[in-house]
């Protein structure tokens, strides 16, 4: 009986690799939560934000573009918990809908920028020689700009909008990610299993993607999670400057930008709430990123600081 049971179990394991994968992910997630309660708090905030971002309509009391003609710039009250703005729209609803744009821009741009930076970093670190030399000079060129200036230059050329701001933030991510991944790839390249793989005749591409790249994956996760916070900062600053996603689409940055016209008598609720939203989001990403870094590889601490 017992024997047949275990064989059945193992057969089931073989049949369902997906379930096993989920199980191992769930257990490492649980270990991550236990290793850092503060990181867990960050994860909790992020899940909350994710839900708000996916379905802002469930939480927002009103349509973000609905105009309440009898309450222009009214302070928070029982009807409008975060007040109304200078076009008499409900602020709280706009903050909830703003979460969506903020998360979309941050996640997509970091994904694109870091994947490209990853490939570039692995290639230049592993191939070395002339390719490395030339690509280092190209990266130098991009790193020579303060990041927000480079983003502004790109947006000046392409015009403001959702896609261009994603492109701009992705582009300014590439050089720094490529640098970090390159330094990791350089050290992986010297290990014996890479030497062994080349010795048995694996092609350069195969060694690069099957043997070197997986070793650079943990650093990539760390870089990417740290980058999400800074991407939100950049997006908020650019939208604040009027170079991001244009109104009426609400983003936290352009909500703050709207205040600029009335700085002599600024309505405090329009300044405070969007900023608190940005701060909480960036805080959540930073706490999660720090915990992830400690969890995945404590040795990286010095290199990334």
């Amino acid at each position: 009986m017992l024997g047949s049971d275990t064989s059945e179990e193992s057969a089931q394991k073989k049949e369902n690799p997906l379930i096993n994968l989920c199980r191992s992910w769930a257990s490492s997630f649980w270990r991550f939560i236990r290793s850092s309660p503060i990181g867990a708090f960050g994860v909790f905030l992020l899940i909350l934000l994710g839900i708000i971002g996916l379905a802002p309509g469930l939480f927002a009391p009103y349509d973000p573009d609905k105009i309440f003609f009898d309450s222009l710039k009214t302070p928070p009250d029982s009807e409008h918990w975060a007040g109304t703005d200078f076009l008499a729209r409900d602020s709280l609803s706009r903050i909830f809908y703003g979460a969506r744009i903020t998360l979309i821009v941050a996640i997509i741009s970091i994904f694109i920028g870091d994947v490209l930076g990853f490939i570039w970093g692995v290639a230049t670190g592993y191939l070395g020689k002339k390719f490395d030399l030339i690509s280092q000079r190209i990266l130098d060129m991009f790193i020579a700009f303060p990041t927000i200036i480079l983003a502004l230059l790109i947006l000046a050329a392409l015009g403001a909008g959702l896609f261009t701001i994603i492109a701009a933030i992705a582009l300014i991510r590439i050089p720094s990610t490529a640098r970090v991944i390159r330094s990791v790839a350089l050290s992986v390249k010297e290990t014996q299993f890479v030497e062994a793989a080349s010795a048995i005749g694996a092609s350069e591409l195969r060694v690069m993607f099957r043997h070197v790249a997986p070793q650079c994956f943990a650093p990539l996760l760390i870089v990417a999670s740290a980058g999400l916070g800074s991407a939100i900062f950049t997006e908020a600053a650019l939208s604040f400057l009027g170079m991001g996603v244009p109104p009426p689409t609400p983003t936290w940055g352009n909500m703050l930008g709207g205040v600029l016209n009335e700085l002599f008598q600024p309505p405090w609720w329009l300044v405070i709430f969007p900023g608190v939203a940005i701060t909480l989001t960036v805080l959540a990403f930073n706490l999660f990123g720090d915990a992830l870094r400690d969890y995945l590889d404590p040795r990286l601490r010095g290199r990334l600081d």
């Binding site: 015009g159 205040v259 930073n286």
Partner: protein, 319 residues
């Protein structure tokens, strides 16, 4: 030492060259040809094809890109940054000379504020590790790192307007001409940027101090009976400051152009504010000159930081 200096200098030249090409190309792909609509007497006047060709010829934009690029480089080399695209009498060089010092002054003041806050916080946090002081400093640092600095600026202005009926002046005042007004204008941005950057410095000083306090030479210093303040300040801190110096240089370089959002929040008439207005108005002659200026300033400051670093840490030179 001389060889190292020369090598770093030579590496900067292709970078600057690449930067100019990048800026030049970015400015030539602007869609919706800025030449098409030229502001006439208070209204936008759309040019006909014939007029457009004439304007292009008069500005030299009918020539091949290479020639245009070389002409621009020639002007830049002569220090001639040209004029605003929309206001032909507004010299860009003049603007840089008038507004540049304000931006630079704010960056330096911010750096001083950051050191004044970050250094003691980092040292206390490392020396009194895992005490209430350490935890509260780290909590404060984590919070500060999540606050966008331009929003902190808006909040400060809000606070002073509501409680003191005062807001920082927006009229340009130089440090020499009108120091009192200049100080009122620059102190806000300097504090805001200084706090954000101070958090980063505190974090960095703490982690490098912790690492160094574990080193053998610190143990030796303690063992031979030196006062703990001597060990901390004379032995440990000196080495812990190395990474802080590098990052301070990078920060200075980045804020010379990168403080646009803070300058906008305070409406400080610095170069960052000029850049953002130029981007909004698609004044591309101003954009290309200012971006070039920021990039070159950034490269030069990085170079200087490398030199200082090589000077205080001799290991770098022999790598």
């Amino acid at each position: 030492m001389g060889k190292y200096f020369l090598r770093r200098l030579l590496l900067a030249i292709p970078t600057i060259f690449g930067v100019t090409i990048l800026i030049f190309l970015a400015m030539r792909v602007i869609p919706g040809d800025p030449l098409r609509s030229i502001i006439g007497e208070g209204q936008i006047y759309v040019l006909s094809d014939k007029e457009l060709a004439d304007v292009k010829a008069s500005l030299g934009y009918d020539k091949p890109l290479v020639i245009q690029y070389l002409a621009w480089m020639q002007d830049v080399a002569k220090g001639n940054l040209g004029y605003s695209f929309w206001q032909k009498d507004k010299s860009i060089a003049d603007m840089v000379i008038r507004r540049g010092p304000i931006t630079l002054q704010i960056s330096i003041m911010a750096l001083l504020v950051a050191w004044a806050i970050g250094l003691p916080a980092g040292i206390i946090s490392a020396v009194k590790r895992n005490t209430v002081a350490d935890y509260s400093i780290r909590g404060f640092v984590t919070l500060l790192m999540a606050i966008p600095n331009f929003w902190l600026g808006l909040a400060i202005i809000l606070f002073t307007v509501i409680f003191f009926r005062w807001r920082p002046p927006m009229e340009l005042a130089t440090l020499w001409g009108n120091p009192w007004q200049n100080l009122q204008m620059t102190i806000g941005p300097a504090i805001v940027m200084g706090f954000s950057f101070g958090a980063i410095i505190a974090r960095m000083v703490r982690s490098s101090m912790l690492e160094i306090l574990r080193d053998d030479y610190v143990r030796t210093a303690n063992a031979k009976g030196l006062a703990s303040s001597t060990v901390i300040f004379r032995h440990a801190l000196r080495n812990a400051l190395l990474p802080t110096i590098t990052i301070s240089g990078l920060y200075l370089g980045a804020t010379i152009g990168g403080a646009v959002a803070v300058e906008r929040a305070f409406s400080v008439p610095g170069l960052g504010l000029s850049l953002i207005y130029a981007v909004q108005a698609r004044d591309w002659t101003v954009i290309q000159s200012l971006v070039l200026l920021f990039a070159v300033a950034y490269i030069i400051i990085n170079l200087v930081v490398d030199y200082i670093y090589a000077f205080i840490d001799p290991r770098i030179r022999y790598e």
